[in-house]
Symmetry: C2
Subunit: 314 residues, 2 copies
């Protein structure tokens, strides 16, 4: 995996070195230079190798996936009014909103540039790109709504987060000539991993340590973000006539105290159940990986990556 | 040409009918339903026919070009703070900026979806899409600068406007199997026509009739927009120590009087020379069309379209 990561990093460096100067491209370079785990492009490379392809033959597509991911971050940060991204200023903060809009647009074009003209790859990417936009739209819609069901939340997360892991893996498989059935299996691995990934993210937000995550503990709770955790907790609390959470949420955001909210989540068993649910999703992911008819040895890097994501603390 | 227009309109209607509901797609439908000349997609269809192809075989690509054009309008309107587009509310006014950003993103993805996976078409479209972003960036950069040369202005207009006409024609030619040389010639026709188109646009802004253009006469002048007209006029006025324009531009925007500014443009011979320059560009365009080795009969629709653009009053 370190080899694949080094291969990808070198490819990014080469791409960055050839980027034109000017305000259209500087924000792209800035985003691509922020410290990042590069999960998605590594999935593309590993998936290609799983099906007998060579990682070096899908470096462009892997970069395209990472550019697309960063384009969505650049635009989402404008929409969400975020000031920090990976501990650094967001593009619209460092430059301005117009630059972030336009540079993001150009970044999406550059992502397509990297995708080449393989009909299979383009079909996967086109479908996924649209679904990711649909997910962000749902996320914004949900903010305005009081009632969001667990199913709706899962559907939104699938689109906003899981689809791109699915896409990254499918593209690698497609380029290696994997059968449609194998593409579906590796896609399922990515999708379920993505759902678990988001669950772990929500858990870290509520129960992670600030000095490791770099984020305020309970930030999502304070903002009343309707995650799996909060939706489930509110359901259970209502059944028990426990008003702790609703009382805090009734206050203006700045006056909310996250400490009793986090405590309530634990007391209601939501932390435990969310961890169990993340584990269940990871199991579905691993089962899909197992079902692929390839030597076990070849599956190891993807399994290791999935295990690293499961155990992450930031 | 009416036939081709009807063919394209029917294709747009079909596309609109199949569009999912919801806030991601509604703004796309809204933009695509605004009254429009459809110059770019018609160019794609006519260019395909010029080289012996069938218009019905490039309807998707023509729609892709029009979707791309409307995506740029949607995002440019946010960046330029425009409230009106073709006499109707802009998307960020009717909905909000976030919806305009996200729906525009999805519209760009849908444009790519229409482009298919022909390597020639994708190479043209990828290059052009990036250049159009570069043009918008330059346009924004120039607003902050006091000194913009005629060459810089022309370069910006080429990227922001002319490149997409070039692209629309090239894609039609490419799909019809035109030679690289013929693709260059039809591209030049589009590029020069685009430069002339912008010149006519600037002339209409300054000298057109509000009841025909639907815009305030001299709006660009009031805003001090550095067009060919204003750059040339300021150069000449400075040589003649005529301070009319500079005096108006020194005032706050709301206090500027466009009547003496328009008068100054006429007195300095800028209107006449701009018309001559537009005519010169159109001649270069027509010469490129002439140089294409195809029966004259096949060139007629493109020539008529170009002549209609030359004589337009709105």
């Amino acid at each position: 995996m370190e080899q694949v990561r080094a291969l990808f990093d070198a490819h990014v460096e080469k791409w960055l070195a050839e980027l034109p100067v000017g305000e259209l491209h500087a924000p792209m370079a800035y985003m691509m230079r922020l410290p990042a785990k590069r999960v998605r492009p590594i999935l593309t490379l590993l998936s290609c190798e799983l099906f007998g392809g060579q990682a070096k033959n899908v470096l462009d597509e892997a970069l395209g996936v990472e550019l697309f991911h960063n384009f969505t971050l650049m635009h989402d940060d404008i929409m969400d009014n975020s000031t920090l991204r990976r501990g650094m200023s967001t593009v619209h903060e460092k430059w301005n909103a117009n630059t972030a809009i336009l540079s993001g647009d150009a970044m999406l074009v550059r992502a397509y540039q990297m995708m080449g003209c393989d009909p299979g790859v383009l079909a996967i990417f086109n479908r996924s790109a649209l679904e990711v936009c649909e997910g962000q739209q749902q996320d914004m819609d949900f903010e305005k709504r009081k009632d969001v069901s667990l199913d709706e939340y899962r559907g939104m997360i699938r689109l906003k987060t899981a689809v791109l892991l699915d896409c990254a893996l499918r593209i690698g498989a497609c380029k290696a000539g994997a059968s449609p059935n194998d593409q579906d299996l590796i896609g399922t691995f990515g999708e379920q991993l993505g759902l678990a990934f988001q669950m772990r993210d929500d858990l870290l937000d509520a129960f992670g340590e600030t000095n490791r995550t770099g984020k305020e503990q309970g930030g999502d709770l304070r903002n009343g973000k309707k995650t799996w955790l909060l939706i489930t907790a509110l359901q259970r609390a209502d059944e028990l006539n426990d008003a702790t959470l609703r009382n805090e949420l009734a206050k203006p955001i700045v006056e909310r105290n996250v400490v009793p909210m986090i405590k309530a989540l634990r007391a209601l068993g939501v932390q435990r159940d969310a961890e169990a649910e993340a584990h269940r999703l990871e199991t579905v992911a691993f089962n899909a990986l197992e079902a692929i008819n390839q030597p076990d040895q070849r599956k190891l890097p993807l399994r290791h990556l999935a295990e690293a994501l499961r155990g992450r603390v930031s």
